[in-house]
Symmetry: D2
Amino acid sequence: MGSTIGSRFRLTVFGESHGRGVGCVVDGCPPGFPLDLERLQSDMDRRRPGQSVYTTLRKEEDKVEVLSGLYNGRTNGGPLTLFVKNEDIQSSTYSEVGFKPRPSHLDYTAHLRYRGYFDYRGGGFLSGRMTAAMVLGGGVAKQLLGYVGVGVHAYMRSLGGVDLPREPSLEEVVANTYSSPVRCPIPEAAEEMMKRVSDARSSGDSVGGIVECLVVNVPAGYGEPIFDSVESLLAHALFSVPGVKGVEFGAGFHVANMKGSEANDEFYVEEGKIRTKTNNNGGIQGGITNGMPIVLRVAFKPTASIPKPQRTVNLETMREETIVVKGRHDPAIAIRGVIVVENMVAAVLADVLYTMIDQKKF
Amino acid sequence: MGSTIGSRFRLTVFGESHGRGVGCVVDGCPPGFPLDLERLQSDMDRRRPGQSVYTTLRKEEDKVEVLSGLYNGRTNGGPLTLFVKNEDIQSSTYSEVGFKPRPSHLDYTAHLRYRGYFDYRGGGFLSGRMTAAMVLGGGVAKQLLGYVGVGVHAYMRSLGGVDLPREPSLEEVVANTYSSPVRCPIPEAAEEMMKRVSDARSSGDSVGGIVECLVVNVPAGYGEPIFDSVESLLAHALFSVPGVKGVEFGAGFHVANMKGSEANDEFYVEEGKIRTKTNNNGGIQGGITNGMPIVLRVAFKPTASIPKPQRTVNLETMREETIVVKGRHDPAIAIRGVIVVENMVAAVLADVLYTMIDQKKF
Amino acid sequence: MGSTIGSRFRLTVFGESHGRGVGCVVDGCPPGFPLDLERLQSDMDRRRPGQSVYTTLRKEEDKVEVLSGLYNGRTNGGPLTLFVKNEDIQSSTYSEVGFKPRPSHLDYTAHLRYRGYFDYRGGGFLSGRMTAAMVLGGGVAKQLLGYVGVGVHAYMRSLGGVDLPREPSLEEVVANTYSSPVRCPIPEAAEEMMKRVSDARSSGDSVGGIVECLVVNVPAGYGEPIFDSVESLLAHALFSVPGVKGVEFGAGFHVANMKGSEANDEFYVEEGKIRTKTNNNGGIQGGITNGMPIVLRVAFKPTASIPKPQRTVNLETMREETIVVKGRHDPAIAIRGVIVVENMVAAVLADVLYTMIDQKKF
Amino acid sequence: MGSTIGSRFRLTVFGESHGRGVGCVVDGCPPGFPLDLERLQSDMDRRRPGQSVYTTLRKEEDKVEVLSGLYNGRTNGGPLTLFVKNEDIQSSTYSEVGFKPRPSHLDYTAHLRYRGYFDYRGGGFLSGRMTAAMVLGGGVAKQLLGYVGVGVHAYMRSLGGVDLPREPSLEEVVANTYSSPVRCPIPEAAEEMMKRVSDARSSGDSVGGIVECLVVNVPAGYGEPIFDSVESLLAHALFSVPGVKGVEFGAGFHVANMKGSEANDEFYVEEGKIRTKTNNNGGIQGGITNGMPIVLRVAFKPTASIPKPQRTVNLETMREETIVVKGRHDPAIAIRGVIVVENMVAAVLADVLYTMIDQKKF
């Protein structure tokens, strides 16, 4: 039924855009872990809108509350429940979308699936607001992974048609990503990306983008056969993020144009460890980690809610009409998508590497 | 642990490359369905190698056997078990790969994951041979979908760098795909694709490709929220197919370069039904089907096993060595991937549309 | 990891005894259902302690809060999140049990499983307090079942050694159960049961009991084969209720002493419907409902926390010691178990009968 | 959909009574385990009918075949597929039961659930024959548990109204159970049990029984909270065995008549380890193992198929008729139930203790 993901590290999200708030239940967090709530709050702040002109002007404080699972600052082995209240809701701006569905938005399909009962205000329980719950749960996972040395780092790869001019170094990613309003690790590109977003906003439009995620220090030999390949689990989680239309690993779609002799990652030995000269497989071979960094990319579509007039169909009259979407929407959902991708990748990997996490007693 | 996928229409695969055979258990097939075994055999034949110079020269008869679940030609409501024997096995050609892992192949990661015990011959239970079990189970799903009017059609979109010159019509797809040795629906492009494959084979190399899948007549309003979005379930299944490195829906990665005003699929009315002018969402909005055709693309890497000399590391000596892969391998796994993608998409959609299938009594 | 149960109607519980509160996420509730919050509150009140001398003297208001999933009084198709705050907590009485485990209590095993980090106060996330979350989620299920005509009724079958003198009628069950402090549908027996509970309390002891559950108007032909038999799903849920040591259906353990000719439920026709003369199968044959009422019994052990001095082992010194349990505990957990059994049975049956519920549009 | 159980050690069963055979896929078997096929065959032989006058006269060779998962005598980490062919089928004796359902048999409910398409011969995929697949998969689990020192031992506790006169010692259980035709560990009682079975058979009747299972050397501290309590998982599996109507742990239903001061298992120290003086909890407290032996009992109803004339309803005419069941049926399914209970308990515990098994490298 969709609210739960994972088998050993398991995440259940709940809440909705215009209700009391959103939250998650994290099941499988080993006992005794000293959860850093400030760091979790910092993740929430990175997702929060209202931080710059490049995201929406809504203000959501998103203060992390712990409803259960912590005892004296450490996880107690039971379900960890995290919650953030909804604030600054302007429901009036949604009065129309209930019967005039916004193009490319879930208004229409939610109407079909849930019939008249869907709370279309702000996208209800299918809203981008649900990514706050993903960031919360995934943030816990990221801290657990950090404890066993695994680092998960997402950043903007391409925004509004501006690509990174080169591979960013890990140092650049760590230093620059979240200080950049567009989450771009290379300052020169960031400028140009910001310009494109500004231009789109000015013209009542929006832009798409590609988020890349780099996972370093991944131990080799983890993953399950066939249907639970590491790629399957990651893609499953990433396609649950609103607005995602593509996921690729390593060389991704580009590999289709390569020859085997180009695409194959040859092995060599470095400091006594087997590594590959290239990483076209993105750290995963046969569904199992090979010890190289996991590299993946996620394509976000432009924000569907744009002020520009668009054609739609009035569901009550079945006549075509023009809609002008009101409300305060991000001109590029990919920007907030960066921390969402990062934390959902962490949530999946905490499940994949569960044995390793579980064995490291606190 | 990876052998099972699906919740209501559920597929469990078993077997291995160099064992007795491979098969699957299909759980959730409604009682009374007149399964067409000839059509299932025809699906298997479409996956079978040894059909042309563009695939391997191995011969596998792949005769479909029913171990349980059929009674007087109809499903009896219980687990449907299908099996194909392995034949024409040449294990001797794999003597080396146990300790000299082929670049980009699962040899290395399976060795790490399953320690010395993995049956590396032919890729064991992680082999491309397992796709025979996927084709079997998915073939049942495809027949069930056909019964409720849904058509699933995969074809080659790009092979060896040769793209389709235009969108193929549904008629072309149906008429040409499986009569083409490279599963290409547009004959002119097929010629060029075949040439690239031949050239690659001649030079001891291999090529990658992109398989596209078009699902027509999909009812609107199906899919679950958040983690069980239709895209999540499809991508999960598709990334379990060996060699897949990317999955995208609708405009896919291209959407990242579009503006909202370009990417949004505006609604209009046609013959009393709501449709969209474009289909950049690939038939899925907010994780739920919107009634437009589902369109997705899957990137296959070039066959990893190539005759060209490659560098690897001897796992026993930890010294770098050169490996020349023997055995009979497809120069392009994407070719056989076409029917695999088609049937795995069907397996997932039979799960998504289960209520609809279940309500249509036989 | 244990917080989630069900496949289509799915319940996730969270919270803990001495934290902010407890709650649940109900996934799969169809859109448009007019959830009766007063009736849900009434279920909570039936579980609440402090109602009589036969239960504990703790006071918990247990006011039901809706965190998400309701819109204009109807379910909106998304995750329904319900919550009750914890109140009147006296943590000081638990200072000892962290290292002097109470006999037959989870103190000891939780200490082993969660090492030092378990919040032993009040039983933490394994506490009887968690049954409040079960009652909440199951209460939703019971309302859904009522909507399709299925009635779920639990009552005390045996308490402190006092058995019901005869089969209660459905009318008696409905009229008397929850007005009786010991949930006994037959007033004469209720008196005697109350006396036994009083006596046990007076002597610093506790008593066990058997809760029976009767489900009427169950449609025939529901249930899945083998591992998802209706009995399997019900027993799974019931053994998750703290203190349960046995579950039986129909004639239950008594059937082991019967001959086939006695135990077999012969068929006959009544008003055009097939029924059985006896109901030794308890409404389930071959794991599938047969249209007769489902009858099951659940054995609850006596409350483990008793004031009488008991021997235990000090976990710090590994020396045997005597413990005198403080705090306010029910002298018979079976009493509060009645509504818990009733609602957990409902939660499982809402899953089993999901298709039926889903087809009945609101 | 019912054919799969377990999360890490996972069992999928397939096949049917009158098809090609029955089998199972074992997922999660760690690589390198030297599976003892002779011991597995011996388990199958213990389930096999035709061994004595106390079971049926059908002959089934039940030769274990390995379809995948073994390489050089050791598990290879992939799905382990085991199969036994069906032999000696007499379908003709079932010609009537398709429309004259046997009382207390699945004939009627399977007819409702699977409409006309169920293969009623021998019970189809719901048949007692499916327990052969359970014994196979559970037999693998039992060997894995043995490797970490855990012993699983089932035996007859009560048959045809004859109870064991006292607690059997572990030595008696090991020495006598499977050499007794009625699986009774105490020879004196065995004689009387056999007499009851013979008498029942002579009079065209059948008897019920109670199987007890003792698991020794269970490590303390294993099990998951709430819905995945060890009791929940065990009961779930045991209620999937055909004919089971009750499951209890430790003092079971008897505990309902006890006082807390009697029922509570007080702790003491023996050889530096914490143990309990009594074992009324049956080795499980709060859903978690406490280090004492797990003790459980399973009630089997008498075989439903008896030669004595019984009343039923003709499904075609809806008239009441008398049925005389033909075919060769066990007079007491509990007898064959012993090895089934033993191995299903093992299957569940291999899942519960998975971490322990997985860490013990081969």
